[in-house]
Symmetry: C2
Subunit: 372 residues, 2 copies
């Protein structure tokens, strides 16, 4: 039974059919990872599940050659546990030798969400960047910038925006429509700026020709397809083709995508213990049966249980422990209430530690971004 | 008898019907100039023949308050005598107290004419700017910049391109189509950049809220209409509404618009005496009769004679002399060959002096623009 679904960079509606999206967009599953990567949490748990041209990045990692991870944040709404998946990828690739470029998409928020630049700035600094630091972002090899104010270095600033302008020659309206569906001048401008975001690390004023990997949710892939096409059409620069990795969406509390615009769908990194407990108990979609007796007899379904997904994708690092939860829940030995209690405990233990680190990170904000 | 005509920023086709264009675009004729302006060559000869919101500029001139003249060059093809009309306006307004902002539209040339940035740079510096200097451009109160590289000051660079991006939120595709006719992403991007060109002098990083006058040919008016509309829609900044003046096109040698892409239509500022003589004799459209006898009897028509227009709009400063040429030609006392000879003499005398100044200007280029 198919639900109506739509996945574009500006909207994710309905159920996400990953297999269909991969087929449609020409993205490949991940196989043949070097051993040290295969064992990494994000890969072994399938958080990063697909890629395009990842080979050149693996090769740069293997031979300790420089490469870039380019990523960004759209600072609209609260930083929630779904955002941790992207943050973890930043830290992982930074550890593997990437220089990080992190764009604050304040222009996109202005154009596509009509949010003021100042609001974006406040949310980016006091929520997103603060959380990144608390989650372990290293200030070395890390450049955070605002789309509206690329650099304090004028040559870098000029060359970034110049690239955006030049790229507009190499795309037609029909292509925009094919890639994005509905399009307006503002969204077109935002899309070209995103292409410049992804490609500019390779400009001579930045790192020069170099492999760049962009970790995205599948909904952001249109931006990547556009940037990849444009990079090969413009002859004023030579670009190594962009690589990309795809992470699954952390499900929202009641299923669907976790969305910063719906507080009952997410757990924020600033939520209190009580709020976490309440949200999980009230909203978290359960794979359990309607009655305890039935559950004991038939077992639950961990594959559709939101708490189990949270443990699998984020909070239970111990594979054996996770497997035993899976089996116990499936057999009916573990009840939904027990799974929820365990998940609440894990999340709150993480948040307690994280919120302490977040307080400490406030002092270090200035090391990552110029504050006024 | 109406010829098919079309006037857009990227093409002027057929005869230009100024009266119709003024009506269509809502531009007003010039009346009530202060005496010192009325006597200026450009106004008394009708070179500048129409305006929008010129009052606030006249008032700034009258009270010696700061104002900006924003103008630009599209460095495709040779600098010809038609370009002198714009240059003269720059010098006039500079003399009247304006700060000049001069954009080299290298991004527009890249997007709308597929000319490389480097070619634009060479033509801009070694032809256009050189001629401006030779024609009397003052380095004080004068800022020349490339669209592709707005400023060596990063705050200025960031804020200029930021404005272009933000403006894209306030326009629809249908408006673009209504204003420009045919439109592509590249031309849309160029149009938004032009709007930023015209509006950015008023940003806090530049002059702040201040009257800005943009002198244009009527074909560039769509850019102005767009910039004027956008300036009142965007609420992130407060803009004084743009003023504009309209100059007539210097006719090409055989009529129509003088076009840098058709060498038989123009006299370049680097043409030799011989070339000028040959072009005028061979191509200049004459208002005279077919035979000398007929001309002596019926007289010529100075109003459609291209040489007479060149004298009127550019090369004959002496009003009495011009009037006597007009009358003598009209009565048949002056022959077409005599009018051509006189015009050749005037142009060559101007060019001889100009080319000397042009050589001297080469040493001063670095005072106007950063050379590598």
């Amino acid at each position: 039974m198919e639900k109506e679904s739509s996945v574009t960079p500006w909207e994710v509606k309905g159920e996400v059919d990953y297999a269909r999206l991969l087929r449609e967009f020409g993205i490949s599953p991940i196989k043949e990872l070097p051993p040290q990567l295969k064992d990494e949490f994000l890969f072994r748990r399938g958080v990063i599940f697909a890629q395009r041209d990842l080979k050149q990045i693996l090769s740069a990692i293997g031979s300790k050659k420089p490469f870039v991870m380019m990523t960004g944040m759209m600072p609209t709404g609260k930083f929630h546990i779904g955002h941790i998946l992207v943050a973890k990828q930043m830290m992982l690739f930074q550890k593997l030798g990437a220089k990080l470029y992190i764009a604050v998409a304040d222009i996109e928020a202005y154009l596509a969400r009509t949010q003021s630049l100042e609001t974006s700035r406040q949310i980016a600094i006091n929520d997103y960047i603060l959380n990144y630091i608390a989650l372990g972002l290293n200030k070395e090899n890390c450049e955070i910038y605002f789309q509206s104010s690329r650099s304090k270095n004028s040559e870098k600033a000029n060359s970034f925006y110049r690239l955006q302008a030049l790229l507009s020659r190499y795309v037609t309206f029909n292509e925009f429509k094919a890639i994005y569906g509905d399009i307006s001048p503002g969204k077109m401008s935002a899309a070209l700026l995103q292409a410049a975001d992804m490609l500019h690390p390779q400009l001579p004023e930045f790192e020069g020709q170099i492999p760049v990997v962009v970790p995205v949710g599948i909904d952001q892939d249109p931006h990547l397809r556009l940037a990849r096409d444009l990079s090969q059409r413009i002859k004023d620069y030579k670009f190594v083709q962009l690589s990309s990795t795809y992470n699954i969406f952390l499900p929202g509390l009641s299923g669907g995508k976790m969305s910063a615009s719906d507080p009952s769908s997410y757990i924020a990194l600033t939520d209190t213990e009580k709020e976490v407990e309440k949200k999980i108990k009230k909203y978290a979609f359960s794979g359990g049966k309607d009655t305890i007796a039935e559950h004991r007899k038939l077992g639950g379904n961990p594959d559709i249980d939101v708490c189990f997904q949270y443990l699998n994708l984020l909070f239970e690092e111990d594979d054996k422990k996770l497997a035993s939860i899976y089996n116990n829940y499936k057999s009916g030995k573990m009840l939904s209430s027990e799974l929820k209690d365990y998940t609440i405990k894990k999340i709150n233990s993480f948040l307690k530690e994280h919120q302490k680190k977040r307080e400490e990170a406030k002092k270090r904000l200035g090391e990552f971004i110029k504050l006024n």
